[in-house]
Every structure is written in C-alpha cells, then in structure tokens.
C-alpha cells in the first residue's frame, strides 16, 4: 500500500513537470488522442457490435434490437437505451455487483451523447403508435481500463450502432411479428463524437490516461454532432473550470471530433 502511494506521488510529479514543458508522459501532444482502433461485427449473434481500443482502454459493445413498449409520454418514438458495465476482469479494483455511481455516470453520458444529437431517428422505429415500437439496446462491457472510458465507450457504442442492421417487424393480430430475412440499415441522422479532456493544473489535455486521471483537477466530456454543434456536456471531478477554459475545451472538442468522425463515417 505504502509503496504504491510513493510511486503514484513520483509519477504525479513527473506528469506535472512534463506538462510545464507542454509534454506528456507517453510522448503525446496535449491535444492528441491515443491510437484508436475500432473493429465492427465481432459478435455475429448481436444485431450490431464493435470493439474500440483507445490506448490500453478496451470496450466491447453489442446492440440488440427487439420490439418493446414505448415510454408512456413518448408513444411516437422508438426506445434507445445505453448501459455499461466495468467487468471484474477489467481492473484489479473492479468488483462484480450492482453498478456504482461512476458506471452509472458513464452509461448516462454515453446515452446522452447519442440521444441528444438525435443520432437515430427514433420516429422511424414505431410499429404501432403508443403500443409497440422497436427498442435498440446498446450494452457496453469494459474489458480493460486505462482512463477515458467515456470516449472509448462512446466510440464503441456509435460504431456498433452504425454497423448494426435492424430486423423487420410487422404488427399481426396486435402483436409484433418478426419478418424473417429482411433487415435494414438503422435510420442514422448524424454521428456524435465525444471528446473528454482533463484539466491538470492550468493545462487542458485530451484523452487522459488512468495516471493522468489520477492527478487531474477536473474533467469535461463534450459531444458534438456532424454539423459541428455541441449537443451534450458533462463536467466531472472534484474541482472546476474557468470560463475561458470551457470556451477552449469546446473548440478542442469540435476539432478533435471532426477527425474521429471521419473514422466513424467509414463504418457506415
């Protein structure tokens, strides 16, 4: 216990020293992301799937599509739900059991990014108004953690959605019935890209590693859509941001987001 605290302290000082020269522990520039790899179609039994790796952070997402009842006040829209789980094999500190507040926040931030950008046109997923709609369930499993679960999970979820196919259902005698062999592309309107930044001292860094997250003051995740507009934000961490920093973060999120979006567009 004691020895690990000393290593953390040394690492922390090294990270802070390097930042003063505009450098990072792994040699990246402040606004560079780690290498991103995305594979799709890795789980054939799912309707869509993807594995995203951002550095050593790795997340597998599966999309399952099935008929469901609409939400009571949203009878003219299909359902879309994101969940996330940090598997116990992902991290020595991860434990099985009900999700803790970090995992709930992760799933809700990913969900918000996809929902608020209106990535999927949910109005096209209605089988019978107020009675029966198509539900899209996007479930993410964290396989390995090294910081920035938000962006990795968001990219895996968006990639799985972009590569999914929607089975066809028809209403027969008031119940939805599967029409075999007829699948279509999902109604995609825009591609959300989340960009997470950490404030360490007065420096803003993009895509923090676990070590950087351990010494960050605050964190912000900004999701943009294909038009370059800002659609979802979540600030986290135990300190705040100056207003000017928040303006800067939005600019970074838009420019980094544009590059990632080109990668995701190729999956369509």
């Amino acid at each position: 216990m004691t020895s690990s605290v000393i290593i953390e302290q040394l690492k922390r000082e090294r990270i802070l020293d390097l930042l003063k020269e505009g450098k990072r522990l792994d040699g990246r520039g402040l606004y560079d992301q780690r290498t991103l790899t995305i594979e799709t179609g890795i789980i054939p039994k799912a309707d869509g799937s993807a594995r995203a790796r951002l550095g050593d952070t790795e997340i597998v997402t599966g999309v399952k599509i099935q008929p469901d009842k609409p939400f009571p006040d949203l009878g003219d829209k299909g359902i879309l739900i994101c969940t996330a789980e940090i598997l116990p094999l992902a991290d020595p500190g991860a434990e099985p059991g009900p999700p803790n507040e970090e995992v709930i926040e992760l799933a809700r931030v990913v969900d918000r990014g996809i929902r608020e950008t209106e990535m999927v046109d949910l109005k096209q997923l209605v089988l019978k108004k107020d009675k029966s709609v198509i539900g899209i369930f996007i479930d993410s499993s964290v396989i390995n953690t090294d910081g920035n679960l938000f962006d990795t999970c968001s990219y895996a979820s968006v990639a799985a959605l972009l590569s999914c196919t929607v089975p066809k259902y028809e209403i027969k005698e008031d119940v939805p019935a599967l029409v075999e062999g007829q699948r279509s592309k999902p109604p995609i309107k825009t591609i959300p890209v989340s960009v997470t930044m950490a404030r360490i001292g007065e420096h803003i860094v993009v895509d923090p590693t676990a070590d950087e997250e351990a010494c960050m003051n605050a964190r912000i995740t900004i999701t943009t859509n294909s038009e370059g507009n800002i659609c979802a934000i979540q600030k986290g961490g135990n300190d705040g941001f100056a207003v000017e920093q928040l303006f800067k973060c939005a600019e970074i999120a838009i420019s980094v987001g544009t590059k990632i979006r080109k990668r995701l567009e190729q999956l369509m």
């Binding site: 009571p72 507040e101 970090e102 709930i104 926040e105 799933a107 809700r108 918000r112 608020e116 950008t117 209106e118 912000i220 859509n225 370059g228 507009n229 800002i230 659609c231 979802a232 934000i233 979540q234 600030k235 986290g236 961490g237 135990n238 300190d239 705040g240 941001f241 100056a242 207003v243 928040l246 303006f247 939005a250 600019e251 838009i254």
Partner: protein, 234 residues
C-alpha cells in the same frame, strides 16, 4: 414564447423564477436550508463532520464529502418509485463534485460531511436549486468554505437563449445547460448540457447561466444574513 419575448410562465428571457431561501430549518441537522425556486420545493440537511460509516471510506488525510439527492415519490406528476434511480445517483455525484471545490475538509481527517437533499416538489432545474440550498446549508453548518456555490441553468427555447429553464421549457425546449459557479473564484464547478447549441450559442448560454448564478448568489447571501445578523444587516 410570444412575440414580445414573454415566456410561458410570464417571465422575460433573462429573468429568474421567484426564489425564496431560508437557512436553519431543520433542528437536528448541523446545517440546513429550504429553497423554493419557482415551483421547486427542496430541503437540504448537513450532518458532520462526523465518523465515517462504512469505515473503509474514511480518508486519513482529509474529511470526505458525500451527497444524496433524492426525489420524494409525490414530487412529480406520475408517482416516482422511492428507490434511488440512475438519474438521482448521477445527480448526487455531480452535485457532490460541484460542492467539493468549495469546502475545505483538510482539518477533519477520517470524518465525513453528509449532504442530504430531498426534492419535495420538482419543477425543472431541481439540481441547480438543490445545489443552491446545499451550499448555504454547508455554510450554516459552519463547514470551512472557499466560496459559495451558486447554480442556475440557461437553455435554448424557441431559438432563443433564455435564463433558468422551467419544467415545461425543458421538455419543449431545444437545450438545457445547468451550471454551478463559485462567484468569487470565478470557477464553474458543474456543467451539463442536453440539446443542440452552435458554438456561439454555447458561449452565450454559458455566460447567461453564470449571470443567473451571480443573481442567485445575492439571494444566498441575504438568506444567510437573515439568520446570522439582526434585520439582515451587519
């Protein structure tokens, strides 16, 4: 919103809802506050610094902050299941992280300061109203603080940036951005966004919200003075 820029509840675009704030409303708590923010009715109670249970959560270097944001089953139109929802757990976390920069707990190692928030009636912007009450309840409890935390939302309704989005505007509107701000240190400690804003609207929305936070701050100051100084003056 009508053609004169008057909103569904009669406010102008840059106008807050009515806010009333009372400090020291709970006898058993170390600090407390009650806020009415529009139709929101919210209680905040502070307990601590006190022993941490479970013990493994304790930090030997400093006190810890815990927060529970909870909505009463009768606080909304459809009865809400009393068990904490995922939404409430997330809001508890962001409220805790919004208050954390303001409190100084280094002199209270191995203890916890518990912030309990009960939303008796909800009306849009409840997390901001809850933060406003929690922040002065912490001051009422005598917890050392760097600054007050003042919170207020701004949003986009009918293509205009408006201050303090109410429930109806939140549901029908295009964007909602809750913001918490430390007015003397100039730091944003909570920011979320649901909805679509262009980069210039984003700037305007954040500035509008901070303007609201500064107005809330004056109301918080007055509420504290009413309890601690006769006739509300020093």
């Amino acid at each position: 919103m009508n053609e004169n820029g008057i909103r569904c509840d009669g406010r102008k675009i840059d106008q807050l809802r009515n806010i009333s704030l009372k400090v020291g409303v709970l006898k058993n708590a170390d600090g407390s506050a009650y806020i009415e923010f529009g139709k929101n009715k919210i209680l905040a109670g502070i307990f601590g610094p006190r022993d941490v249970h479970p013990k493994h959560m304790a930090d030997s270097d400093k006190g810890i902050l815990r927060c529970r944001y909870h909505m009463s089953p009768f606080s909304v139109t459809e009865r809400k299941n009393p068990a904490p929802s995922r939404r409430e757990i997330e809001i508890s976390k962001v409220i805790k992280e919004a208050l954390q920069p303001a409190v100084i707990l280094k002199d209270f190692p191995r203890t916890v300061v518990d912030v309990f928030i009960e939303v008796l009636q909800a009306d849009g912007g409840s997390r901001c109203a809850a933060l406003d009450a929690a922040s002065i309840a912490l001051a009422d409890a005598g917890i050392p603080m760097r600054d007050m935390v003042s919170a207020c939302a701004a949003g986009k309704v009918a293509d205009q940036i408006v201050l303090d989005v109410n429930d109806e505007e939140d549901k029908e509107g295009q964007a909602d951005m809750p913001v918490a701000y430390m007015p003397n240190l100039g730091k944003v400690t909570l920011m979320q966004l649901d909805g679509i804003l262009t980069p210039s609207e984003y700037k305007k929305c954040l500035e509008t919200a901070i303007g609201g936070c500064k107005q809330v701050y004056e109301i918080q100051r007055k509420a504290l003075m009413e309890k601690y100084f006769e006739n509300g003056s020093q």
